[in-house]
Symmetry: C2
Subunit: 234 residues, 2 copies
């Protein structure tokens, strides 16, 4: 089952984006009158008929709503310092989107090696992972901002900061309660600075460990995401 993505499915007739149209008509060779599946990234999935098989803007007519019912009662937001290596960031986004994540924020921290981050490629990777996972929920991906500036705006029922502290006996597993909204901060390769940890604690973030092994930044992000989904899975 191939699923296409179109953020606005509110009208009876809609057109796929340039990218999705190309994939639908040029790659998968769909024709006029073919029935396809289209999701809006917000949990909705519809059956539609191709009215105009234009490879730049495929026009479709809504046929039927077949959205799965969601029983999800938790919300995951990860705010992470992107790694120097772009492949590792892309991989983090892909895997979290496959596993299920609601929001990803990129933060620039004192020890960040990466000062610039283009999110277009990451958004494409997120769309493709959403289709692959059949979750039909597209994560919101926020442009990179200074950690200090973004910190006060990070709201959740449970807020955690993961950093290397061998004296901290608290694990995510110990502290997390199910069916909550969560925000987890993940630092860069050189970790958060003591000042950053202090401000995060003052803003209500609780220090946690993600287990005994020392994890790379992107692995820590995926592990936090999977752990929270795992705790909430029935």
């Amino acid at each position: 089952m191939n699923v296409f993505y179109c953020p606005d499915l509110s009208e009876n007739s809609f057109s796929l984006s340039l990218e999705e149209s190309k994939h639908c008509i040029k790659v998968l060779r769909h024709k006029k009158d073919d029935e396809i599946y289209v999701c809006n990234g917000d949990g909705n999935l519809v059956v539609a008929r191709i009215v105009d098989a234009n490879h730049k803007s495929t026009n479709c007519k809504f046929l039927k709503d077949i959205s799965p019912t969601s029983t999800k009662k938790h919300r995951i937001h990860i705010a992470i310092a992107p790694t120097k290596n772009m492949d590792r960031i892309e991989w983090f986004v892909e895997k979290c989107c496959e596993l299920g994540i609601d929001e990803i924020s990129f933060i620039q921290t004192e020890h960040s090696e990466r000062k610039v981050l283009k999110i277009d490629r990451l958004e494409k990777r997120a769309i493709s992972a959403m289709k692959q996972s059949k979750s039909f929920q597209l994560a919101r991906i926020n442009e990179m901002k200074m950690f200090k500036k973004v910190l006060p705006s990070l709201e959740a029922d449970q807020k955690f900061i993961a950093y290397v502290d061998n004296d901290n006996p608290d694990t995510l597993k110990k502290l997390v309660s199910p069916e909550k909204s969560y925000c987890v901060l993940i630092g860069p390769e050189g970790d958060f600075s003591p000042t950053e940890v202090k401000s995060a604690r003052e803003a209500g973030f609780i220090p946690i460990s993600l287990g005994q092994n020392v994890l790379r930044t992107e692995t820590a992000g995926v592990v936090a995401c999977h752990s929270l989904n795992f705790i909430n899975d029935y």
Copy 2:
């Protein structure tokens, strides 16, 4: 702290491999009389002194055993059909080794697209992930074998087979008990064939789901590994 790898630390004097020697002397520019850390991949970590700073074969003298005490009471073995894309297999190996895994077997299944798999690169990736994670436990990586042939030799307290079956309500989370040895079978992109599922069930493997989202092969492998570690983490 840079850690080097030498599988045999039983003697008072030992030499690093070509690769490790190059890294130690050429890359990190260690000199004669420097003290370095060396692990054997079996949980042992020692302090050693460089006696001969040869970049092809660095000779070291044992000084002190500083092996961490392990409280690990579980064992993870994942038998997986490698993906067509080599990057995804390498990523799977790296992430499992970071998270902690004891054994990885590669299986060739009916729907496998990949017929050949060289494991040298994977072993290097495993060594580097072991050093990064500071676990000092090196996973055993087994050459690819036919699924049918390897199936009878896969032994564990709890054996699971993960495949796509929308009617299966059993998740890994529901069925797993802590402090056991586990073996999990992960199929290729096209999944296990019905015959393969049947033989696995006959061999004592219990069908499980890894959650609601459809996961790529390599993601399923990492998720299985992390879930088992998570359940066993205190």
